[in-house]
């Protein structure tokens, strides 16, 4: 997936000479997780600019470049550090166009990875996407594989609105087919990762693979799960979700963010509003426990797993 994102950036930077990348460690170093590999050599320091450790000002500067008509990608090295840039994202980028009566566009992409289960502790293990779903004016993108990552990045770079593009450290090395062609994927369209008729699993980012594995395992028992990769949380494909739930009558939402007020709450409520009469069982959430992530062996206890997904599926099918 890291290569797919790199390919999308390279492709779009060749097409649009105004695109600029800003952040820390993105130059010759190639990014903390290698996403920028080779971009500095191809596009030079003016377009791939290493900056100081200053998330607030870097993001603000990205907004200014974007307002001036230079689409900008700002790197936040771990999503946990986005708190330092939150005013720029929430009060500035997301509000600018609306407040100014449509005079200003902010074509800004904030790239940031979820980095969990690496034993890095409570300040480097969070999934904070739900906070940003709460902010109209922002797009929130959560790809789970290389093909989607590329197509969604192309859309992000052309969208004209501020986009929070959330990657996942565990997915960077994942393998998969990525189309060569220029094929942007529209925001707000989920992907049916596996078709099924007994229960819907709505998920995204790092939980897509465990959900697919759970579905695979239960298929042996004749339980057919439909796995929805939401791909973007804002806009959220409510219609696609409701269609699936109407078909299966059961829904489980799975994510690595903590359970309380996570994206799952919004997804579950959207299904309830649109498919209430079709529901055969309560909607369940499989999510991280409501506590900071510990280090060491304890960390495995708080995060959702394939086994927890399977247990939830069995529960709704009782």
């Amino acid at each position: 997936m890291a290569e797919a994102i790199n390919e999308a950036l390279r492709h779009e930077m060749r097409r649009n000479p105004d695109i600029t990348l800003l952040g820390q460690d993105i130059g010759p170093y190639g990014g903390t997780f290698g996403v920028y590999k080779g971009l500095y050599d191809e596009f030079g320091v003016d377009r791939v600019t290493d900056g100081p450790v200053a998330e607030a000002a870097t993001t603000g500067i990205g907004i200014g470049l974007a307002m001036a008509g230079m689409p900008t990608v700002v790197e936040i090295e771990f999503i946990d550090f986005i708190t330092l840039a939150s005013d720029a994202i929430v009060n500035q980028a997301a509000k600018m166009r609306f407040c100014f009566g449509g005079q200003v566009n902010v074509p800004l992409v904030i790239r940031t990875p979820i980095v969990n289960r690496l034993g890095l502790g409570a300040q480097h293990s969070q999934s904070l996407e739900a906070w940003f779903m709460h902010i109209p004016g922002l797009r929130v993108v959560v790809p789970s594989n290389g093909a989607d990552a590329k197509g969604l990045m192309l859309t992000a770079l052309r969208d004209g609105n501020p986009v929070l593009y959330i990657e996942h450290v565990r997915l960077y090395a994942s393998k998969g087919e990525v189309p060569e062609a220029d094929e942007p994927i529209p925001f707000g369209k989920l992907r049916i990762a596996r078709e099924g008729k007994h229960v819907t699993l709505a998920t995204y980012s790092g939980m897509v693979r465990p959900c697919l594995d759970a579905a695979e395992e239960l298929a042996k028992e004749g339980i057919e799960c439909e796995v929805l990769d939401m791909r973007t949380l804002s806009p959220l494909d409510r219609d696609g979700l409701v269609n699936s739930v109407c078909k299966t009558g059961r829904l489980i939402v799975a994510h690595e963010a903590m359970k309380t007020a996570g994206a799952g709450a919004e997804i579950a409520q959207s299904a309830q509003e649109g498919a209430f009469d079709y529901l055969e069982a309560p909607i369940l959430r499989v999510a991280a426990d409501d506590q900071p992530a510990p280090t060491g062996v304890l960390q495995d206890l708080v995060f959702p797993t394939k086994e927890k997904v399977i247990a939830a599926i069995r529960q709704v099918l009782l």
Binding site: G60, L65, A88, R97, D159
Partner: protein, 323 residues
């Protein structure tokens, strides 16, 4: 005090007129807020008009300006239409932001006025970004960001000083030091006496000027703008001034002390400039009265226009959210 010989009477009278126009606008802003013509609040720049006019006069029309919620004066000085501004305050459809921004969110991209911001110092890095775009495009344009001294304690401001100096961004940050962050006086809220002192620590130019004289402000601003335009990097220019009797038109933020509240009247840059114009430049007081009355009329007409402008209709409520 110097009398720069290159300032023509025409220029000086234009500046005077602009200052009077800002004052008349602000008086109407306060008046119409108190009358209930709009809700929220409004932050007048009364007593700070010399900064607006002196700085704007040092800029080219294509230079970009960012300001704060106390930004009506900067908008007028940058050439925004007074009617559109007043209509914006009254949240009307003919407002410069279609009535969606109100007093604290003014913008006119056509005039290269890139907006006023209601979050302290948040616009400083954004202005730096626009200035960086100028540098990348080698277009010779300079970006200016105004802020009050209260905002100079914010991280976004300090981080931006560092990055603007590091990347030699063509940016001028103008601090309007009016001595108060809402209720907290600068001697309690700031570790340095002069905000400009912050510049040295980041390796950038800092300068200080009496902010209540447009001629002095203009001269200091020209130096800063020339430096930025010629590739010499950013400047933090501190203009010493005095705040109007309270933070905003709602009563919160009123000075505890009446003498303090009226301090602005002693520092008022308009009578002070009048005195200079008459005594040093031989301009007739009558001519000044004439200009003042013209600007009053202009502001009156703007208010009437704003009152008559339509209110956005319910189906427009979510317009302009996404590109």
């Amino acid at each position: 005090m110097s009398n720069p010989s290159n300032l023509t009477q025409e220029t000086l009278l234009f500046w005077y007129r602009q200052m009077c126009l800002i004052r008349a606008f602000e008086n109407h802003a306060i008046g119409s807020f108190r009358e209930g013509l709009f809700t929220g609040t409004t932050h007048p720049c009364i007593c700070q008009e010399a900064i607006c006019v002196g700085c704007a006069a040092a800029l080219e029309p294509t230079d970009q300006v960012f300001a704060t919620y106390r930004g009506h004066g900067h908008a007028l000085a940058k050439g925004l239409d007074i009617k559109g501004l007043m209509a914006e305050l009254l949240c009307k459809q003919d407002g410069c932001c279609k009535g969606r921004g109100g007093s604290m969110h003014l913008c006119d991209v056509e005039k290269d006025f890139w907006g006023t911001n209601a979050i302290l110092a948040a616009h400083i890095p954004i202005a730096a970004g626009m200035a960086l775009a100028n540098k990348k495009r080698k277009n010779g344009r300079v970006t200016v960001a105004f802020l009050g001294e209260g905002a100079t304690s914010e991280g976004a401001f300090l981080e931006t000083l560092h990055m603007a100096a590091l990347w030699e961004i063509p940016l001028v940050i103008v601090c309007e030091n009016n001595g108060y962050a809402i209720s907290v006086p600068a001697h309690i809220g700031k570790s340095v006496e002069d905000v400009a002192q912050h510049a040295a620590g980041f390796g950038m130019t800092g300068s200080i000027v009496d902010g209540n004289d447009p001629i002095l402000v203009n001269a200091a601003m020209k130096v800063a703008v020339d430096q930025a335009r010629s590739g010499g990097g950013p400047t933090l220019l501190e203009c010493k001034t005095v705040r109007w009797e309270r933070h905003s038109a709602i009563s919160a933020g009123k000075y505890a002390d009446d003498a303090e509240a009226l301090k602005w009247k002693k520092a008022d840059p308009i009578p002070r400039f009048e005195k200079r114009l008459v005594e040093e430049f031989g301009i007739k007081a009558k001519q000044l009265r004439q200009l003042e009355s013209e600007t009053q009329q202009e502001a009156d007409e703007a208010l009437e226009f704003a009152k008559a402008s339509p209110t956005p209709t319910p189906e427009m409520v979510a317009d302009y959210l996404y590109a």
